[in-house]
Assembly symmetry: C2
Homo-oligomer: 163 residues x 2
């Protein structure tokens, strides 16, 4: 793309990295806001704990290898690794590993790559941009649920608009 057309893009790969990592930073602060015990034990309406929701979100984020290279690690393997995570410190360390991995692999996320069709764990087939949007939407959705858990526990969550 010429410089002119780059300037006219609605959204660039760099914007998308900033957007995703911005959301991941906020979700990390929501994890931190939970007391250790409630993170792994509290829930409402028969739903998963916030640790459970955050592990789903972090497992999905390991899909950066799928987005960037079409390598989708079997979901069962990701879940098996995550089943070993039992403390807030371990969850945050896993979270931070993925954050660094996303930054490291991002150069592979070219405009062309965003237009390639992938199948994310057999769940959804579409262009990489749609899969990434789904990853981010799913994170916002579950994080919003964490806000209700925190409020119900009498804990003030981090401001939504501070990424």
């Amino acid at each position: 793309m010429s410089a002119t057309n780059v300037a006219l893009a609605v959204i660039t790969p760099e914007d998308l990295l900033k957007r995703w990592q911005g959301h991941r930073g906020l979700t990390r602060r929501v994890i931190e806001a939970f007391p250790e015990k409630e993170l792994f034990e509290f829930s409402l309406g028969g739903m998963r704990t916030f640790a459970g929701l955050a592990l789903e979100v972090s497992g999905i984020a390991t899909g950066i290898d799928g987005l960037a290279y079409g390598k989708w690690q079997p979901w069962e393997e990701i879940m098996a690794k995550e089943a070993t995570i039992k403390t807030k410190a371990e969850l945050l360390a896993f979270w931070d590993e993925i954050t660094e991995k996303i930054n490291r692999e991002w150069p592979a996320m070219t405009v062309e790559r965003f237009n390639v069709t992938e199948n994310s764990w057999g769940f959804y087939q579409g262009p990489v941009i749609s899969i990434l949007n789904y990853f981010i939407d799913n994170e916002i959705h579950h994080r919003g649920q964490g806000y209700v858990y925190l409020r119900t526990l009498g804990i003030e969550p981090p401001a939504f608009y501070e990424h």
Copy 2:
């Protein structure tokens, strides 16, 4: 942009309309899933009712005039209009009006327009694309909270991935 460059765009204005309206369609189904009384009376953790959250989301969506033309109706006026909405049928009718308005105004949402800087109600200043992303993120966030309300009420919410 040439045909080649359009094909190489990460995301197009048409994609964004489909994305926003897809989310709005799902949120509408979440509103519908609430019994009338609980929609306006039930909440958790001292939060707003789901009607309250949905009215915030729909008020923000009237900002299509801001996104498209830089016309930001004063927030107090929007809130005053919304204060008259007292039933699920009225809320859904208001929702549908905005859905149609967004479709009607979308031709003004050109690639150039997405790059223009706007100030949304003095709350956030940035390019139109960032403001729209915030609108959508805020909707997903509050809708996720509605899922917790529904589950706590023993009601199965619509599937998250069905837009």
